[in-house]
């Protein structure tokens, strides 16, 4: 007997009278038989068509269902992941918000304390010294001695020193008269000494937010201190533009600059950065042969 299960296959001869067809791939078949006694002349028998069903895992409906299920699971996982990611970000945002609140609270507390000390120095000791100076002046008029003159001069120096401390402690007029007026006061005071020249440009409307102004004043104070103490600058330019939604400060000096990679904590840059952060601002700087330049953007509440 010989047989084939597909028309295009070759005949397979077998002496057996039974046929066991194993491991046939799923599909449609036609089983053809031919019989022979001399392996020469073959007599065909009626073909038997049969079908092997595919196993359940490779049926089309299973495949589609599985694909859909997988897609669904993927989608759920993805959405879950996004949710979690969002939650995580929200959480980080919360921490950030919390840190900013803390930072702002800290800044405000420091400023309150500074104002208090400044007020006491200014209204208390400053006035005391001014009154003593009156008396010294009268004494000087009456006696015209070297000692009286010395007392008078030293009192004057002490008054000037205290005024300097007060100016550093509490930005004069900055909360009462605004950012431009306050900075102008402060810069005029610094220019008086003649050791440094500060050019000040302010374009746009006055800014009257006390917290914002005080923080900006501290940033500028720190920058000036960096320029004079570390960078040995002679000229500084402070250039402020106030736009409706933010303000920009371009601060430049003609000092020796610094290598940003070698920033030491004493440089106060982290102080400046955290103050800028507390106002949700942005700080850029560049240091090189033309001194150091800072560009600071601070958003404004509308």
């Amino acid at each position: 007997m010989r047989y084939k299960i597909k028309e295009e296959s070759n005949w397979i001869e077998t002496p057996a009278r039974e046929l066991n067809l194993l491991s046939i791939a799923p599909g449609k078949y036609n089983l053809n038989f031919q019989f022979s006694v001399d392996h020469n002349t073959w007599i065909a028998a009626t073909a038997i068509p049969f079908q092997i069903s595919p196993p359940w895992w490779s049926t089309w409906y299973f495949r589609i269902t599985t694909a859909l299920a997988l897609a669904l699971v993927g989608l759920l996982l993805y959405r879950g992941g996004i949710k979690q990611y969002r939650k995580r970000n929200e959480y980080l945002g919360l921490i950030n918000e919390q840190q900013k609140k803390l930072l702002n609270a800290e800044i405000e507390a420091t400023e309150r304390e500074r104002s208090r000390i400044a007020k006491e120095l200014h209204d208390g000791i400053g006035t005391d010294l001014a009154s003593i100076k009156f008396i010294a002046e009268q004494l000087n008029k009456k006696t015209e001695t070297q000692e009286a003159t010395t007392i008078q001069n030293q009192l004057q120096r002490a008054i000037t020193d205290i005024r300097g401390i007060v100016y550093g402690l509490a930005p004069p007029g900055i909360s009462k008269y605004g950012l431009s007026a306050g900075l102008q006061n402060y810069i005029a005071k610094l220019n008086e000494h003649g050791l440094i020249h500060i050019k000040f440009d302010f374009l746009g409307t006055e800014v009257t937010d006390t917290h914002l102004n005080t923080t900006i004043f501290r940033i500028i104070q720190e920058l000036v201190s960096n320029s004079t103490r570390h960078a040995k600058s002679k000229n500084i330019s402070i250039h402020i533009n106030v736009f409706p939604d933010y303000l920009n400060i371009v601060y430049t000096d003609d000092g020796i600059g610094f290598d940003p990679a070698l920033i030491t904590p004493g440089l106060g840059l982290s102080n400046i950065q955290s103050r800028v952060d507390s106002l949700n601002g942005n700080l850029d700087f560049e240091s090189g042969k033309n001194g150091t330049a800072y560009s600071i953007d601070i958003p404004l509440k509308k």
């Binding site: 200014h122 209204d123 400053g126 006035t127 005391d128 010294l129 001014a130 009154s131 003593i132 100076k133 009156f134 008396i135 002046e137 009268q138 008029k141 004057q156 008054i159 005024r163 004069p172 007029g173 009462k176 008269y177 431009s180 007026a181 102008q184 006061n185 005029a188 440009d201 302010f202 374009l203 746009g204 409307t205 006055e206 330019s237 250039h239 533009n241 736009f243 920009n248 371009v250 430049t252 003609d254 850029d284 700087f285 560049e286 240091s287 090189g288 033309n290 001194g291 150091t292 330049a293 560009s295």
Partner: protein, 198 residues
């Protein structure tokens, strides 16, 4: 004799001033008060020629007191004597109706001179610096930069010529563009030209 009232919450200072006026002569101190409220209660009855008053005082501040006095008394000369140096206080004191303002740490000679000046009917306030023009659209530096840009200079060449860093040039450019409401550099230069800035 100039009939004078002193008002200051700082006793040492007021005593010093009292002595000072006595030494210089020509003044009769007819009243001393430690706060604005008690001054207001008595000033009409005393009707002084001159009032020397501090700003920072408990209960009622000096500037508010001056305002209230001026609603009913235009003749008493008022000198504000303060530790404050900010220009704003000068303006406020002047608006309130004071005739002058002087810093407490000023030399005694000059204080007395100013007092006499005021008593002659003139006003004396520290020179208020010229108000800066904040309404200008572009600063001097910004004008320089837009002019150089219009002549075709690059950021780098502006940086080199003006001895400023690249960051500074970049930021100024951005600010100018925003102020001129321009979308790009070309438009910025055109608007600047139209506005007569270059």
């Amino acid at each position: 004799m100039i009939r004078t009232i002193l008002t200051d919450d700082h006793k040492i200072f007021m005593d010093g001033l009292d002595k000072l006026l006595t030494v210089y002569g020509g003044f009769e101190v007819i009243g001393k008060f430690n706060d604005g409220r008690s001054l207001l209660n008595k000033i009409d009855a005393l009707n002084p020629d001159l009032l020397i008053i501090d700003i920072e005082m408990p209960i009622l501040g000096g500037l508010e007191v001056v305002k209230r006095i001026r609603t009913r008394n235009k003749t008493t000369k008022i000198l504000v004597l303060t530790m404050h140096e900010e220009w704003g206080y000068s303006q406020e004191a002047s608006t309130a109706g004071a005739n002058g303002l002087v810093n407490k740490s000023t030399d005694a000679d000059l204080i007395v001179e100013i007092i006499h000046y005021i008593c002659e009917g003139k006003n004396q306030f520290p020179k208020i610096p010229k108000q800066r023009d904040q309404s200008a659209l572009l600063s001097g530096r910004e004008l320089e930069i837009i002019q150089m840009l219009s002549k075709g200079h690059s950021n780098e060449s502006i940086s080199n010529e003006l001895f400023i860093s690249a960051l500074t040039v970049k930021t100024h450019r951005r600010n100018i563009q925003k102020k001129l409401s321009a979308d790009n550099s070309l438009q910025m230069i055109r608007i600047a030209f139209e506005k007569g800035l270059i």
